[in-house]
């Protein structure tokens, strides 16, 4: 079965090539969408087969090389794939969620002019993401890493005729570039450092085997992991590089669901998981990651409290949840981080797709009434639960899951993270506190979203309010599947304390177990402590939900009064703490100023001066030498003979 590993990224590539080359000619949405979805579904089937084979197998790490890429000295780089529990889980998430979102897109993107373009990009994205996940060495991973960045750029800028979409795409690309710089620095430093020890390799398995050559907790390993973490920050939208993700909501909603919630943004988490052997050796880096993750979780959650755009709330929620994953990675709870990655992929994809369904309906209504209102503004929604029952119920289930209510998937993963951040020897109670507060905020703003959208009075323009239909089957089927997964997805990781077997921990143990044991990372504490922490976090979540209910259902005038009493605070939160403005003032404008200086001062005067000066000198010499070129044959013959006489004369008479 493992010999067919290459088929997993190959199918989406075929879809991309097919839709990219022939999509414009075909024009038939059923064919284009069908091919796109079928290809990713086929790779889902292959993934399932591989996953099953891996489950049965006692040997958990398999590498398959399909071709040699380059061979330089002692370094051998292959186009090779690596299947271990971590990548097996990832390919299942990517292809599974990817299939559902492709299916959803057929309905959602119906009638768009660039329909084929959308599916081609989406397939290309799946290909790149699978390369990223399956690559057995850092260079193949980097190819995928850059590929997903490119696809993200292309898909955010899908509505490229809109200036804001183009700007958002550029922003995402540039910010990601900073992260990629970190990734490359880390990779090269690691390569150099391991090479100095006599091991020239970038293969992940070999890196993990030889990690012990580096000094644990030493400078090199810290620098390398910090650089990798910078790369992860860029891709996974952590402080300070998170600003691109909310803007990325300019892309179509399926893109937000697939790329900016379920898969691509988790690449950073995956990368840290892949390099866990190195990261576990650098406690300082781990601390940094934990702190950055916790801060991001809290910070993004505060911004999410005050946004009115339905997708923006979800975007900040994504940033916040990614912060949780980094927090988990930072405190050594690699399994919990990956677990949360998986559950988050389910419920956040469902939430995004649900919001897309709502936007779709709102858009339909406004279109019917010939209105130009913003279909994404929650202040225009309300009371939609009767109009869109399926969307409402799936959305509600996912919201409960993300809020961390027991028995739903988000509870298990989030609680595992919170427990580790408190109990792990790499954790701290402050980290737990920040995480718990952020969890409360998450519950609050998510239910605020639900209440504003689906409950209460319908605030839509009266001309449009009766023309908001439930979406079609291609949209609702993925919603229902994802909602079901969001509910039950957590049951593979029920912790031992609740009487579960924690299957996912055992499953991922071959990947993480060695590093955790080697560096003595463990969470310890009494059962009573664990139970009480669990109760506190559930309590905070329930309180957040209650608060949202009070403010947005029971007494809708409360938020306005709250705003009136703290105008400064509200304004700051509403404007995202002015982070964009700060970055503009500190980095962007100064970069522009340096650029302008280099352009007008350095380039125009000095560089162009050198070029023009050279041209001027050459022109002068040329116009002088022109007189020697008479065009008469005799002069040239004479020149030749003079040359011969001089040279021969020098050799004969000169000696």
């Amino acid at each position: 079965m493992y010999d067919y590993l290459w088929l997993i990224p190959f199918f989406p590539l075929v879809g991309f090539v097919f839709n990219g080359l022939f999509g414009k000619k075909i024009r038939n949405e059923a064919v284009i969408g069908g091919i796109g979805t079928l290809m990713i579904f086929l790779s889902f089937l292959v993934s399932c087969g591989n996953f099953y084979a891996l489950l049965q197998d006692s040997e958990k790490v398999h590498q398959r090389v399909i071709a040699s890429w380059m061979s330089v000295g002692d370094l051998q780089v292959d186009w090779g794939f690596l299947l271990d529990p971590l990548s097996a889980l990832m390919i299942l998430i990517i292809t599974g969620v990817g299939t559902l979102i492709h299916l959803y897109s057929i309905g959602y993107m119906h009638g768009e002019t660039g329909f084929y373009r959308f599916f081609a990009y989406l397939n290309l994205f799946c290909f790149s993401m699978l390369m990223l996940v399956l690559g057995n060495n850092a260079l193949v991973m980097f190819v995928g890493w850059e590929g997903v960045g490119l696809c993200s750029y292309l898909l955010i800028g899908y509505y490229f005729e809109k200036k804001s979409a183009g700007d958002a795409a550029k922003k995402a690309f540039v910010v990601n570039r900073i992260g990629d710089f970190g990734f490359l620095c880390g990779l090269l430093t690691l390569f150099w450092a391991l090479g100095n020890k006599g091991v020239w390799t970038i293969n992940f398995v070999e890196i993990a085997e030889n990690a012990h050559l580096l000094e644990s907790g030493g400078l090199i390993v810290t620098v390398v992991t910090l650089a990798f973490f910078l790369g992860a920050c860029g891709k996974s939208a952590q402080i300070p590089l998170f600003t691109w993700l909310p803007d990325a909501m300019e892309g179509p909603t399926p893109v937000s669901a697939l790329i900016h919630a379920a898969t691509m943004v988790t690449a950073g988490v995956y990368m840290i998981g892949r390099m866990n052997g190195l990261f576990a050796m650098a406690p300082d880096t781990m601390m940094t990651i934990a702190v950055v993750g916790a801060c991001t979780a809290l910070f993004a959650a505060t911004i999410g409290l005050a946004q009115n755009d339905i997708k923006r709330v979800l975007a900040y929620s994504t940033v916040s949840q990614l912060g949780y994953m980094f927090l988990a990675m930072g405190v050594g709870a690699f399994t919990a981080g990956i677990f949360h990655l998986m559950t988050h992929a389910f419920f956040k994809a469902c939430l995004f797709l649900g919001s897309g369904s709502v936007i779709h309906g709102m858009h339909h209504g406004y279109h019917h009434a010939h209105l130009k209102d913003d279909p994404q503004d929650m202040r225009n929604m309300g009371g939609l639960r009767k109009k869109m029952p399926i969307t409402f119920w799936t959305f509600l289930l996912s919201t409960i899951a993300i809020a961390g209510i027991p028995l739903f998937s988000g509870f298990f993963s989030k609680d595992e993270i919170l427990w580790w951040s408190f109990g792990s020897n790499r954790g701290h109670w402050l980290l737990w506190l920040v995480g718990a507060v952020a969890a409360g905020m998450t519950a609050f703003y998510m239910f605020r979203l639900v209440f504003m959208t689906f409950f209460g009075e319908q605030r839509t323009d009266p001309r449009a309010k009766d023309h908001i239909p439930e979406s079609g089957l291609t949209i609702t089927i993925p919603l229902m599947v994802l909602a079901a997964l969001a509910v039950v997805g957590g049951y593979i990781g029920i912790p031992a304390i609740l009487g579960g077997a924690n299957h996912i921990k055992q499953f991922l143990d071959p990947v993480f177990g060695k590093a955790i044991a080697l560096n003595q990372i463990e969470a310890h504490g009494t059962h009573a402590l664990e139970y009480s922490l669990m109760a506190v976090s559930v309590g905070i979540a329930v309180f957040g939900i209650f608060l949202a209910w009070v403010m947005y259902v029971k007494n809708p005038a409360l938020p306005a009064r709250f705003v009136a009493s703290f105008p400064g605070l509200w304004k700051a939160v509403f404007n995202k703490w002015y982070i964009d403005e700060l970055y503009d003032a500190v980095f962007v404008n100064n970069c522009k100023r340096i650029g302008t200086f280099l352009w007008k001062g350095f380039d125009v005067r000095i560089v162009d001066g050198i070029v023009n000066g050279t041209a001027w000198v050459v022109k002068g010499i040329g116009s002088g030498l022109r007189y020697t070129q008479t065009g008469f044959l005799h002069n040239y013959a004479m020149g030749m003979v003079v040359g011969v006489v001089v040279i021969v004369g020098y050799y004969i008479l000169g000696k």
Partner: protein, 167 residues
Amino acid sequence: MLSILFYLFATVAIFSAFYVTKARNPVNSALCLVTTFICFAVLYITLDAPFMAAIQIIVYAGAIIVLIIFVIMLLNLGTAVKKRYTHALAWGAALSVIMLFITNTFIRRGVPTGKLGDVTTQMIHSYGHTELIGMALFTEFLLPFEIASILLLVAIVGAIILSKRQV
């Protein structure tokens, strides 16, 4: 006897060569060139190279000069006007004198030494010059010989292409 023969034909060769450069009518130049070539052929015989003398007559005096005269006739070139003194004449004369001086110095100063081969006069007389040339040409120098044939083929094609009015 050999000395007299050499000096006689050397003098004729030099004078006729000089007249090649001086004659105002190109046909005269061509005829003087033939004279020079024939003198050279005689000199080749004095050097025990009768085959080279033969092909000197056949190729140069026969083929090339005929071709040249044919072209002169075809183009109907007239006699050049009597030239007045030009810079080119002075430069050319000076340069050729310098060149002569340099080569003379070189020849006088140097001694032509080298590994002596086995082709002695007796050998030439017993085997025959043509046979020796043939032996060398078709054994040791077979590849250059073939290449020369390709060169001639290319030259033929080139000449046809160049002379055709419309290709």
